[in-house]
Subunit: 324 residues, 2 copies
């Protein structure tokens, strides 16, 4: 298993991310070969470990206790991976990050169970922090994430969905875990209440920006870089910010509506992608993401100046600039 | 929502089971109507709440702290229900306890997510015990349960499976949660280490007996009382003790083998059920279950005599006698 190199922007915690990676590798050492194989496939896909980095950075604001922060960071990444595993089952997704999904390789039954195993292991890791408050935060976050995902699933192909519903959905599905990474790290660092609230707000807003950029890249990204087909959200019946803006701007007879109604599907999908790429929709979507980034940066102002705080700001910038 | 009446055998905790029921009812009060409906359907199915009863009884051996025991008991029941929800998705089961399963009513996607929500809520409840040790026990138990279920799923239609594998499987899938109910209750009651080990052993052995009786009833039970078709384990490709004993006794050309090979399926299934019902297989299977019950009763001997201990013994007896 290769250890991905942490981006330079992780600054003062860059050299500690490998400890999170080691913890994630250790999880794969189970006696049951079929389970070990599935875990290796899922966790070996890598990723930028942005949530763990945020947790460590938030934990470096004051006391930096890696004994507790590494289990927190690994737990958050594992929880994130577990939800992706279940999402891919639900969406019957074939690829993720350019690799076959677990459900495509191992069938749905075992994949649901591996997801459950990963949730359980995440709970075990979070318990190692020794903090009941962090454990409760973690549990509530998983509740929010499942609710957000359920909202998305139940409103699939619902053409009348609104941007407010979209924001609520991604707040639960994505931003809640970013908020928990930031606040949880701060809690283990022993920060006072207003700083914790600043970190929570930072995490939530970075998470919102992250998801919006994700949803933009679903239309504009490079298929090879993204590791999934362009337009896959629409293919799964999910309206995201760019497609909601198309609907708002062009209420009558627009390609998203035609696609959802099953009319000229290939052509409507192609046209929807084209509209996002070549119209003001793209700029508007980025503007919304930037607003969230700005709120994240503003939240950081409350915290004392430090290398860790600067790195958190860098992460917020990177979220806007990423290409995959 | 009707509150099921706890069996009289729950003795000294019989009047407290309703507190667990109230906690389970409170979980259904969520703002998202679709989620509330699904939770009401799943949790409203009732059940005998045997795991919560064991947790409360074990917690009554010494200090009886309901503030902690009720969240533990509710968490264990919720965890149990969540695993059933995911199992039914995996098995594409249509009915459970005589009602339509969640996956049959609400589709697979939302059902997987509701299961995740229930896991999360179970984690939140267990955190309310305030005991890091109980939380870790809970997390490890969920890991064992997922692994046991995965073993079952991956060995479906595997005719060469052995009784040893079967025991390992049900130890993970079922007995581990009974063990955690008993030991967890004891931990919150502040018991010393050898008593905790006695409770763990009691729970594990009761759980083994419970699952074996479950697997016998799958062949011999009344369809209406069971709320699922007779022979449903075989239909899902799962070999349990009775069918494994048929294979051992009649290695050549037996109906289970014919069924798994897809030959004369209806007739082979009918014949398999008949063989379990009308041969020594039934008696042999019960003998194995009784041995586990006896080990459970022996484990209790270590504990000081009390009404709670007597009730735990009654539960072990009831497990053998139940008809559904």
């Amino acid at each position: 298993m290769s250890t991905p190199v942490a981006p330079a922007l992780y600054g003062p915690v860059q050299d500690d991310i490998h400890l999170v990676e080691e913890t994630l590798n250790a999880i794969q050492k189970v006696e049951f070969p079929a389970l070990a194989r599935m875990l290796a496939h899922i966790l070996g896909a890598g990723g930028k470990r942005i949530r763990p980095a945020i947790a460590l950075l938030a934990g470096k604001i004051a006391t930096y206790d890696l004994e507790k922060l590494v289990p927190l960071a690994a737990s958050i990444e594992l929880l994130h991976s577990a939800t992706l595993v279940h999402d891919d089952v639900i969406d019957a997704a074939a690829t993720r990050r350019g690799r076959a999904t677990a459900n495509a390789l191992f069938n749905n039954g075992p994949t649901v169970m591996v997801g459950d195993f990963m949730f359980a292991h995440a709970a075990e890791l979070i318990a190692r922090t020794g903090s009941i408050e962090v454990i409760r935060l973690f549990a509530r976050t998983l509740m929010e994430m499942a609710t957000g995902e359920l909202h998305q699933d139940m409103s699939a192909y619902e053409y009348s969905s609104s941007t407010i519903k979209y924001f609520n959905r991604i707040a639960g599905k994505t931003a809640s875990l970013f908020a928990t990474a930031a606040k949880g790290g701060g809690m283990l660092s022993g920060l006072r209440e207003d700083w914790l609230e600043a970190l929570r707000s930072y995490g939530e807003n970075v998470g919102m920006a992250f998801q919006i950029v994700d949803d933009i890249l679903d239309f504009t990204g490079d298929e090879a870089e993204m590791g999934k087909p362009v337009g896959s959200d629409l293919m799964q019946g999910t309206l995201t910010l760019p497609s909601l803006l198309i609907i708002e701007r062009y209420p009558d007879n627009n390609p998203v509506k035609r696609y959802f109604e099953g009319r000229q599907k290939a052509e409507s999908l192609r046209r929807s992608i084209e509209m996002v790429r070549n119209s003001s929709i793209l700029e508007e979507s980025y503007k919304v993401a930037r607003d969230f980034r700005d709120r994240a940066l503003a939240a950081l102002e409350v915290l004392p100046a430090s290398e860790a705080r600067d790195a958190l700001a860098d992460v917020a910038e990177w979220v806007m600039q990423r290409r995959s």
